[in-house]
Amino acid sequence: MPVLELRNVSKSFGGIAAVREVSLSIEQGAILGLIGPNGAGKTTLFNLVTGIYTPDSGEILFGGRDLATLRPHEITDSGLARTFQNIRLFGQMTVLENVMIGRHCRTKAGVLGAILGIPGVRKEEAETRKRCLELLDFVGLDVDPDEKASNLSYGQQRQLEIARALATDPELLLLDEPAAGMNPQETNETTELIRRIRDAGKTILLIEHDMKMVMGMADRVAVLDHGVKIAEGTPEEVQRDPAVIRAYLGDEANVVA
C-alpha cells in the first residue's frame, strides 16, 4: 500500500484551478520529486496534503486514512511533517525550542503536570531535550542551541526547519524547496541530508527547482503544469518527455530538440 495517495484531487481559488484532477502515490521509503514551472500548483498541493486547504474534490489518503477528516495538528500527529518554501521558524524562540515544539506532539505531559513539576514530566522534558539535540546534530547544524532562531543564517534556518519537522517523527516528510537560495556546497550537504533521512526509513515528497538535485536523487518524478499532472516516471523518462520539455521551454523547444 502506498504511504500517500492522491485521487483526482482538485482545488480552485476564485475560479482559478490551482490543482486539477491530480492523482499521485508514493511508496514507502521512496523519494518522489515534484517539479513544475512557477505557479504550477506544487505548493498548493503541499497545503492540501497538510490540511491547510481542503480539496474541492478528490481524496487524499495517508496510510489508508482520508486526510480531509483531520485537522492540521491531527495530520501532524498521524505522521506527516513539512518544511516551507519561505522559511517559517519561530524566530523569537531558540534553536532548541523550535525543535522541541516539533517534538511535543509525541510527548504525553499535560498542562497540570508541567505546572506542578511532576518528576515524570521533568524526566520526559529532559529526554525531549536530549533527542532534539541529537536531531540538530543529525541535520548537521552546528550552532549554539540557545541562539535565537532568527539569528541563524539562511542555510542554517533551512536545516533547522528540517530538524523541527523530523522531531515530529514523521513517516512522510514534505520538503518545499529545501535548497532554495543555497550555494552549491550547501545544496550538496542538503542532498546528502535528504538521502540520510531516506536511509533512516522516511518517505519523502520533495518540491525543488534545482533540476540536477531532483533528478539526482528522486526515485520517481511527477511534473505539474497549470495545476495538471503532465508526466510521471523515473527521472530519465521525465527528462525525455516532450510534454515536460514543452512546459519548461515552450513549443519552440521541440524544433530545437
Binding site: T50, I52, R71, P72, H73, I75, T76, D77, A81, R82, F84, R88, F90, G91, Q92, M93, E97, M100, I101, G102, H104, C105, R106, T107, A109, V111, A114, I115, E125, R164, T168
Partner: protein, 289 residues
Amino acid sequence: MLQQVVNGLTLGSSYALIALGYTMVYGVLRLINFAHGEIYMVGAFIGLMTSQTAGLPFAAAMVVAMAGAALVGVVVEKIAYRPLRKAPRLAVLISAIGMSIFLRNLALALMGPQTRAFPIPFEVKRLNLGRLRINSFDVLILLTSVGLMIALHFLVQKTKIGKAMRAAAEDKETASLMGISVNRVIAFTFAIGSALAAAAGVLIGMNFNAVDPSMGMMPGLKGFTAAVLGGVGSIPGAMLGGILLGMAEVMGIALLKSEWRDAIAFGILALVLLVKPSGILGRNLQEKV
C-alpha cells in the same frame, strides 16, 4: 515619598495582573478582550462568595476565584470569539464589547446593584517605619502579584504549553502543523489570563472593601492602558507597564489632586498611542503578507 513608592507598587502590581491577561490574549489572537475587566469582577464576586458564604480561608477563596474565573474566561472565548475566528477583527472586537456588557448586566441581575463589603478573613496589621506605613494588604498584594508573575514567567518560558503559546503567538498556522492544537492553546491562554485577573479582583475588592457589578470597568481600562504602555503582546511589558502606570497615578495624585488620577492614566494612554504605539517593550508587529 517612599510611602508613594510603596503605594505605587501596590496599585501597579494589581494593574500588571490585569494587563497580563490583555497582553497574552492579544499575543495569540490579536484581539483586545474588552470583557477582561468583567472577568476581574466575576473573580472578585466568586472570591467574596467563597470566603463569605462558604467560609473558606483566604488562600482557598483565592484559588476558587481564580479557577472559577478561568472557567468563565474559557467559556467566553468559546461562545463569543471562537465562532468568529475567521471573521474580520472588528467583528471580534464588537463581540468582546458585547460580552463585557452582558457579563456586567448578568452580575447586576444576579447580585443586585449594591456594593458589597468584603469581609476580611484575617487580622490587618499595620507597620510603621518612621513615616512609612505599610499594612497587611500592601504586603499581600505585592507578594501575591510577584509570586504569580514569577509562576507565569516559568510557565511561559519553561513548559511545553508555554512553548506552544509562544509558537502560536508567532505563527498559528505553522504551530498547528507542528502538532499543536491552536484552539487548546487559545483556551489555555484565556484561562491563565482570567485567573490572574480574578486574583487582582479579589485583592483589590478586599483592599477597598467593595465588590460591585461595575467594578471591572475602570480597572479593565487601566489594565488595558498598562498593557499598551508596556507594549501589547509582551508579557514583561505588561508587568512593567502596570508598575509604571501605578507609579504615575500615585505620584500624580501626590503632586496634583486625586481627581487627576484617571486623567493621568488615560493621558498616558493617548500619549503612548500617539508617540510609540508599540509601547516600551513591544515589537513592531508587521502584518504578514
